[in-house]
């Protein structure tokens, strides 16, 4: 009999891998964005708005944000598992973090595509 715990780590390699893939996605996006902004003579609404009017930029921004939210979930879950012992409290925090990150994902789509 295997004792599976819903607030456990699921003991897999997949989360470890996703943590690294999402990190690389975010790192590439951040460096590209920062280099682009440094190359601009000045930062104002025109430059910023023009950048985000591009479909490619919006798409990769959403990819960045979704990678960020998944990355944050794994990171926060690991921290919670290290310091919060009672399973009920752990579960509550996990649920709250998941709901927050799902709401952030919806919000991100609204920011980038809603007007």
């Amino acid at each position: 009999m295997v004792n599976r715990v819903v607030v456990g780590a699921h003991y897999g390699l997949l989360d470890w891998l996703i943590q690294r893939i999402s990190a690389v996605v975010m790192a590439l996006y951040s460096v590209a964005l920062v280099v682009y902004l440094l190359l601009q003579p000045g930062l104002n609404y025109e430059v910023w708005g023009l950048l985000f009017s591009s479909l490619v930029v919006r798409t990769f921004t959403l990819l960045f944000l979704l990678s960020l939210f998944y990355h944050a979930w794994i990171g926060v879950r690991d921290v919670v598992m290290d310091y919060i012992k009672p399973p009920s409290v752990r579960l509550l925090i996990h649920v709250l973090v998941i709901i927050a990150l799902l709401l952030y994902s919806i919000w991100s789509v609204q920011i980038l595509w809603g007007k």
Binding site: R20, Y45, W48, A72, V79, W107
Partner: protein, 124 residues
């Protein structure tokens, strides 16, 4: 098993090694960025919605207190970024011994602080 092993918990004698400091700061900066997510998303929203909200945002961010907060977040990001790259390098077996572990940790602390100062000065 001998359960009466001596415990060395003289807190004034033991100290966290450099890689340990980078590790705990990686955690702290990650948590800080997580808690800042709603604020950062709100900033992205205001910066993109219209020129009026963009102007509102930039005047709100020109307040010294919000600049201080941004500076903390800037450090959190650069530290998390540099420490993360170090972990990727460790995964790829680029860090092989204690000396390299210590040197790379020192490098992470220095580079992230330098980047914070560079971007902090640029944004101030």
């Amino acid at each position: 098993m001998n359960k009466r092993r001596p415990k060395h918990l003289a807190l004034h004698l033991i100290k966290l090694p450099l890689p340990g400091i980078v590790s705990i700061l990686h955690r702290l900066s990650g948590l800080l960025l997580f808690f800042a997510l709603p604020v950062l998303l709100w900033m992205l929203q205001y910066s993109l919605r219209s020129i009026e909200t963009y102007t509102q945002l930039s005047s709100a961010l020109s307040h010294p207190l919000s600049k201080l907060l941004l500076l903390c977040l800037l450090w959190a990001f650069t530290h998390h970024f540099c420490a993360g790259l170090r972990y990727l390098a460790i995964d790829l077996h680029f860090v092989r011994n204690l000396a390299q572990a210590r040197n790379s940790s020192r490098l992470v602390l220095i580079v992230s602080l330098a980047l914070t100062i560079y971007f902090g000065v640029k944004l101030w």
